[in-house]
């Protein structure tokens, strides 16, 4: 079996499962944020069960609209705090304490290899980077999980991507996953698992692996996953307590399809408006004028991303009439960036640093676009209206490409700076 099948087999107390089978699985951890949480809570109350199935396995994070950007979101936050208190939810990350939910889940040790984690957020697939089966569900389904601790899941087919070669300078994880989505399309892995392996993946740090698994859902995938190795174990050792039972794909595991990819010729990639699979090499869109550049989100708002950005803009100035918005993905990332002097470097270059939040990525607050404006963003979605006006254009790229573009005021190949 491959890793996804093994985790689903374990979660449903079976020896073996195969693709297409529907299993009833026990959920290890369930996560909600301030957009999906209130609806889940409201629905939970309608079901009529008094207590959640396990108050130690639910994680609640305020991230999309923090600090509250309107009286309405403040009400929703209040509702979540009340519920957490009433149900004695052990892990509640309030304003200032957490950050973007997926980053918080990973760095606070809620993601353990071998476990089944459900989040009421589509990018829950991120957790596969640590060898967990993470998948997104809606609020009603989450209410049912709160009540029962169980969910029905169809065992997915898995597409495997073996990645070899060597990245050019300033080309990396984001460019790889954008190019994969460009190749297979926005529904290229619909209902399926995407598994990543090969020397390039093995060489990658955890941050890059998170970027890759995070975007699996943009190809429709149920999860993105990587068999855990020593790097993963070293990363989680500091963060997770209790026993860990990692699972890995067998050497003879079955896959629906296997892609062999070579990253050596890959140039920086850009997803053009208004779908994530509209991917082009940067050379084809170079020179497109921009009004805003955004670095943040659960895709690329980690310390490694801020380091790249700081390196590129150090001692230089963001182009006149361009906003560079930087939103560290979590409190931990923010603190680390503070300690390393990155926030100073970025601010000196003209960046506007925001508190950890989904913010601009979600089109909620802190960096929305006006009619006719163009933004290049390190986030994961460029849908019409995603970042404010439906008449704005969004390009997705790596933090390096975004930072380079901010300096020149137009889409720029970071290798040429």
């Amino acid at each position: 079996m491959n890793i996804s099948e093994k985790i689903l087999a374990r979660a449903s107390c079976r020896k073996e499962v195969s693709p297409g089978e529907i299993v009833e699985a026990n959920v290890d951890v369930a996560m909600v944020n301030d957009i999906t949480g209130p609806l889940a809570i409201e629905t939970f109350r309608k079901i009529g069960v008094k207590k959640v199935w396990d108050n130690t396995r639910i994680v609640m994070v305020l991230d999309h609209q923090v600090p509250a950007d309107s009286a309405k979101s403040a009400e929703l936050h209040k509702m979540m705090r009340r519920f957490a208190k009433e149900q004695n939810i052990r892990y509640f990350y309030d304003v200032g304490l957490g950050g973007v939910c997926h980053q918080v889940m990973v760095e606070k040790g809620h993601v353990r290899p071998g476990e089944l984690i459900l989040g009421a957020d589509s990018h829950t697939c991120t957790y596969g980077a640590l060898g967990a089966f993470g998948t997104g569900i809606g609020s009603t389904e989450m209410a049912a999980v709160f009540a029962t601790g169980k969910i029905w899941l169809k065992v997915p087919e898995t597409i495997k991507f073996n990645v070899a070669g060597e990245f050019q300078k300033f080309v990396g994880a984001k460019d790889l996953i954008l190019s994969i989505i460009g190749q297979i399309g926005a529904d290229g892995a619909n209902y399926k698992a995407m598994e990543f392996d090969g020397p390039v993946i093995r060489n990658m740090n955890i941050s890059d692996r998170l970027t890759i698994c995070n975007m699996a859902v943009e190809a429709g995938a149920k999860t993105g996953i990587i068999s855990p190795d020593r790097k993963v174990m070293a990363y989680i050792k500091k963060r997770v307590d209790g026993q860990i039972k990692p699972l890995k794909s067998d050497a003879d595991a079955r896959y629906e399809k296997i892609f062999d990819l070579d990253v050596s010729p890959l140039e920086p990639q850009v997803a053009c408006p208004s779908s994530v699979d509209n991917v082009k090499p940067v050379s084809e869109v170079e020179g497109t004028p921009i009004d805003q550049a955004f670095i943040g989100s659960c895709t690329n708002g980690r310390i490694e991303d801020l380091r790249v950005a700081a390196k590129i803009v150090k001692g230089k100035k963001v182009k006149n009439n361009v906003r560079l918005i930087i939103t560290p993905a979590s409190r931990e990332v923010y603190l680390q960036a503070l300690r390393e002097g990155l926030l100073e470097t970025l601010t000196e270059a003209g960046a506007c640093i925001c508190n950890p939040t989904c913010g601009a990525c979600f089109g909620g607050q802190m960096g929305l676009l006006a009619d006719g404006e163009t933004c290049i963003s390190s986030s994961n979605r460029n849908f019409t209206g995603r970042m404010g006006s439906p008449k704005a254009d969004i390009y997705l790229a790596s933090p390096a490409t975004v930072a380079a573009s901010a300096l020149k005021g137009e889409i720029t190949d970071p290798r040429r700076l």
Partner: protein
């Protein structure tokens, strides 16, 4: 279980950000959400949908954000069923869980025009285009999913299972 209504056609990869933009997510009121449904794609949709319609679409319907506000807004605007070539998986589950029938039918887009009268037989997995007098094969939903839909959604379904002691 049968559903009947006039067809309203959309294309491929209709994402949940356009079904209901993030700026409206601060409300949990389904009727308020419904007023803004599909606003970006078709500002007249809310008017059209009242009284009940069936959405016909291409592949990957409902991709993107997991927001359940999207199927809720559609349902409360008057959408009785969605027939698409394929659905994004979270949207598919969300729709079933709130009792909005979703049916996969490969030929649907080619064989349907706006305002055609459609009759969907969920239990059998068939779409009948009454205007054109055509029968199309569609996905048949497993029984446990039909049970959820006929209960009106997952909440009602669970309520039926709930014991007197408040335990499932």
């Amino acid at each position: 279980m049968k559903v009947r209504g006039k067809a309203v056609i959309f294309g491929d990869s209709v994402n949940t950000d356009v079904i209901i933009p993030s700026k409206y997510l601060t409300t949990l009121d389904p009727n308020e959400l419904a007023k803004h449904v599909m606003e970006g794609l078709d500002p007249t949709f809310y008017e059209k949908a009242r009284g009940g319609v069936i959405i016909v679409a291409g592949k990957n319907f409902g991709c993107g954000s997991s927001r359940e506000h999207a199927p809720i807004a559609l349902k409360h605007a008057g959408v009785k069923c969605i027939i698409a070539k394929s659905f994004a998986r979270i949207f598919y589950r969300n729709a079933i869980n709130i009792g909005l029938p979703v049916v996969e039918c490969v030929q649907i887009l080619e064989k349907t025009d706006n305002d055609d009268e459609l009759l969907v037989n969920l239990a059998v997995g068939e779409v009948v285009n009454l205007t054109k007098n055509l029968r199309l094969q569609a996905s048949k939903l497993p029984n446990f999913i039909l049970e959820i839909i006929s209960a009106g959604g997952l909440v009602e379904h669970l309520k039926r299972r709930l014991g007197k002691n408040g335990k499932l």
